[in-house]
């Protein structure tokens, strides 16, 4: 070990790395538990990469082979059903913790100067994660996936020619076919990771550079200390990762992800079709809008509103520019709470209706 260390030390500046690790700290205060969500997300991402790679060994994209390969996986391959279920449950938990991460940062104004770019990068990572979920949903090529993808790729058409172009680009034609499946597969395993991982690297780099933010009230009163990351924070992180691992495996073992029925273009749309829970906050308001608002289609108005709200959330640090001086206007302080209430209410309503 000593010889290996000496060999590495002659090539890499190990002392500098060790000095950095020794000096890395995390703020320690009464809301420190919020900091663990980022680590949990990285852990879940690792689970997704590992299980996704294992699934690739058996999955075969194609109109005539995708569903069959899933059936083969869950009925013939040892552990296949569990690996697939861990991948599906892991994806759901990842999105759950992503929203928790986003809302916690919004509440303690972690986006404030000088961390605007970290927020913007993180928001793009959220969009990409949702795109992972959407593209991955079609891959088993079952009836539910086909219908949900049809609804999802229909939605942009409400935005006129640009939306139609985007819909055709996603589908590879007017309808959802094997071409769509190939495109979604390419996106899921290659296109999206190509964008996701460099962005994640930048996000993590910025966090290392600036450290994590302390809630403004606690920072003003200096009611916090700094805790070493290695090993004090890391041990805490590892404990939570173990629990999350147990949770994912338990869900996969007790509630294996269903296979469904093979996609059939002629089959009627399944009743009460709705998207995955993490799209309900977008899907539910679409149902509430009237068919026509001042001569414009209600769906178009809803889509434009969704895009505007998304854009505002993306650029939120530039809207709340006074946050670093504690000069956030009252209505902006109220906004994160309203966003959380809206998200939870719409998701619950969509889920139960």
């Amino acid at each position: 070990m000593t010889r290996l260390r000496a060999w590495l030390g002659a090539r890499i500046d190990l002392e500098r790395i060790e000095a950095y690790m020794r000096s890395k700290t995390v703020p320690h205060h009464r809301h420190s538990y919020l900091y663990y969500s980022g680590g949990v997300l990285l852990f879940l991402l690792a689970i997704q990469v590992i299980t996704g790679t294992l699934l690739l060994a058996h999955y075969r994209p194609g109109e005539d082979s995708a569903f069959e390969s899933i059936v083969h996986l869950v009925s013939k391959v040892p552990m296949g059903v569990y690996i697939r279920s861990v991948h599906s449950w892991g994806a759901n938990l990842m999105v759950f913790f992503l929203f928790f991460h986003l809302f916690s940062i919004l509440l303690y104004q972690g986006y404030r100067q000088p961390r605007e770019l970290t927020w913007i990068g993180g928001f793009l990572l959220l969009i990409l994660t949702l795109a992972f979920g959407f593209s991955g949903y079609l891959l088993p090529w079952n009836q539910l996936a086909l219908t949900a993808t049809k609804v999802g790729t229909d939605a942009p058409r409400a935005l006129g020619p640009l939306g139609l172009w985007f819909s055709l680009l996603l589908r590879g034609g007017e309808d959802i076919t094997g071409v769509t499946l190939s495109r979604f597969f390419a996106l899921h395993v290659w296109g999206l990771p190509l964008l996701f991982f460099p962005l994640l690297g930048l996000h993590l780099f910025l966090i290392q550079l600036q450290g994590v933010a302390v809630p403004p009230g606690i920072e003003r009163k200096e009611e916090y200390s700094e805790l070493p990351f290695f090993p004090n924070f890391l041990y805490r992180d590892l404990s939570l990762w173990l629990v999350v691992f147990g949770l994912v495996v338990s869900l996969a073992v007790l509630f294996p992800w269903p296979v469904g029925e093979k996609a059939d273009f002629l089959a009627p749309t399944p009743e009460h079709i709705k998207p995955e829970w993490y799209f309900l906050f977008l899907f539910q308001p679409l149902k509430l809008f009237p068919g026509n608002i001042l001569g414009v289609s209600g769906e178009t108005v809803a889509m434009i509103l969704i895009i505007l709200v998304g854009l505002a959330a993306f650029l939120y640090p530039l809207i709340d520019r006074g946050a670093h001086q504690g000069k956030t206007p009252f209505w902006l302080r109220l906004l994160p709470y309203l966003a959380i209430i809206y998200f939870c209410a719409m998701t619950l309503w969509g889920f139960l209706s």
Binding site: S23, T25, P27, H28, H29, R30, L54, A57, H58, R60, S65, F67, E68, S69, V71, H72, V74, S75, K76, V77, P78, M79, G80, V81, I83, R112, Q113, P114, Q210, G211, E219, E222, Y224, S225, E226, L227, P228, P231, N232, Y235, R236, L238, S239, L242, V243, F245, G246, V249, S250, V253, L254, P256, V259, E261, K262, D264, H324, Q325
Partner: protein
């Protein structure tokens, strides 16, 4: 049933067979008692590891508290409106 079984399965050629939508699709699941037993063993293992990690956390925190303040002062953080400044008041007495 192990991860090795999965890796060995990579060597078996993928078999294409016609799925019959009418028939319930078979999931290669172990019987429920076996699965529950697996989960019990898994959680006992996880809880044991978490207990060990908690003990390590307490130990690491205690060592940190014993460290002279001037040594802890080498840790720096970014504070809004200031360049890096030396920290730190002592850590609170809770995790």
């Amino acid at each position: 049933m192990s991860v090795w079984a999965w890796f060995l399965s990579l060597m078996t050629p993928a078999v294409t067979f016609a799925a019959t939508p009418e028939a319930p699709l078979p999931l290669l699941l172990d019987p429920l008692p076996d699965r529950l037993l697996f989960l019990v063993i898994l959680w006992v293992f996880i809880i044991a590891l978490v207990i060990v990690l908690r003990w390590k956390v307490s130990l690491a925190d205690a060592l940190f508290r014993m460290m002279p303040l001037n040594q802890r002062g080498s840790r720096k953080k970014v504070k809004v409106g200031e360049s890096n400044r030396d920290s730190i008041p002592g850590p609170p007495g809770r995790d």
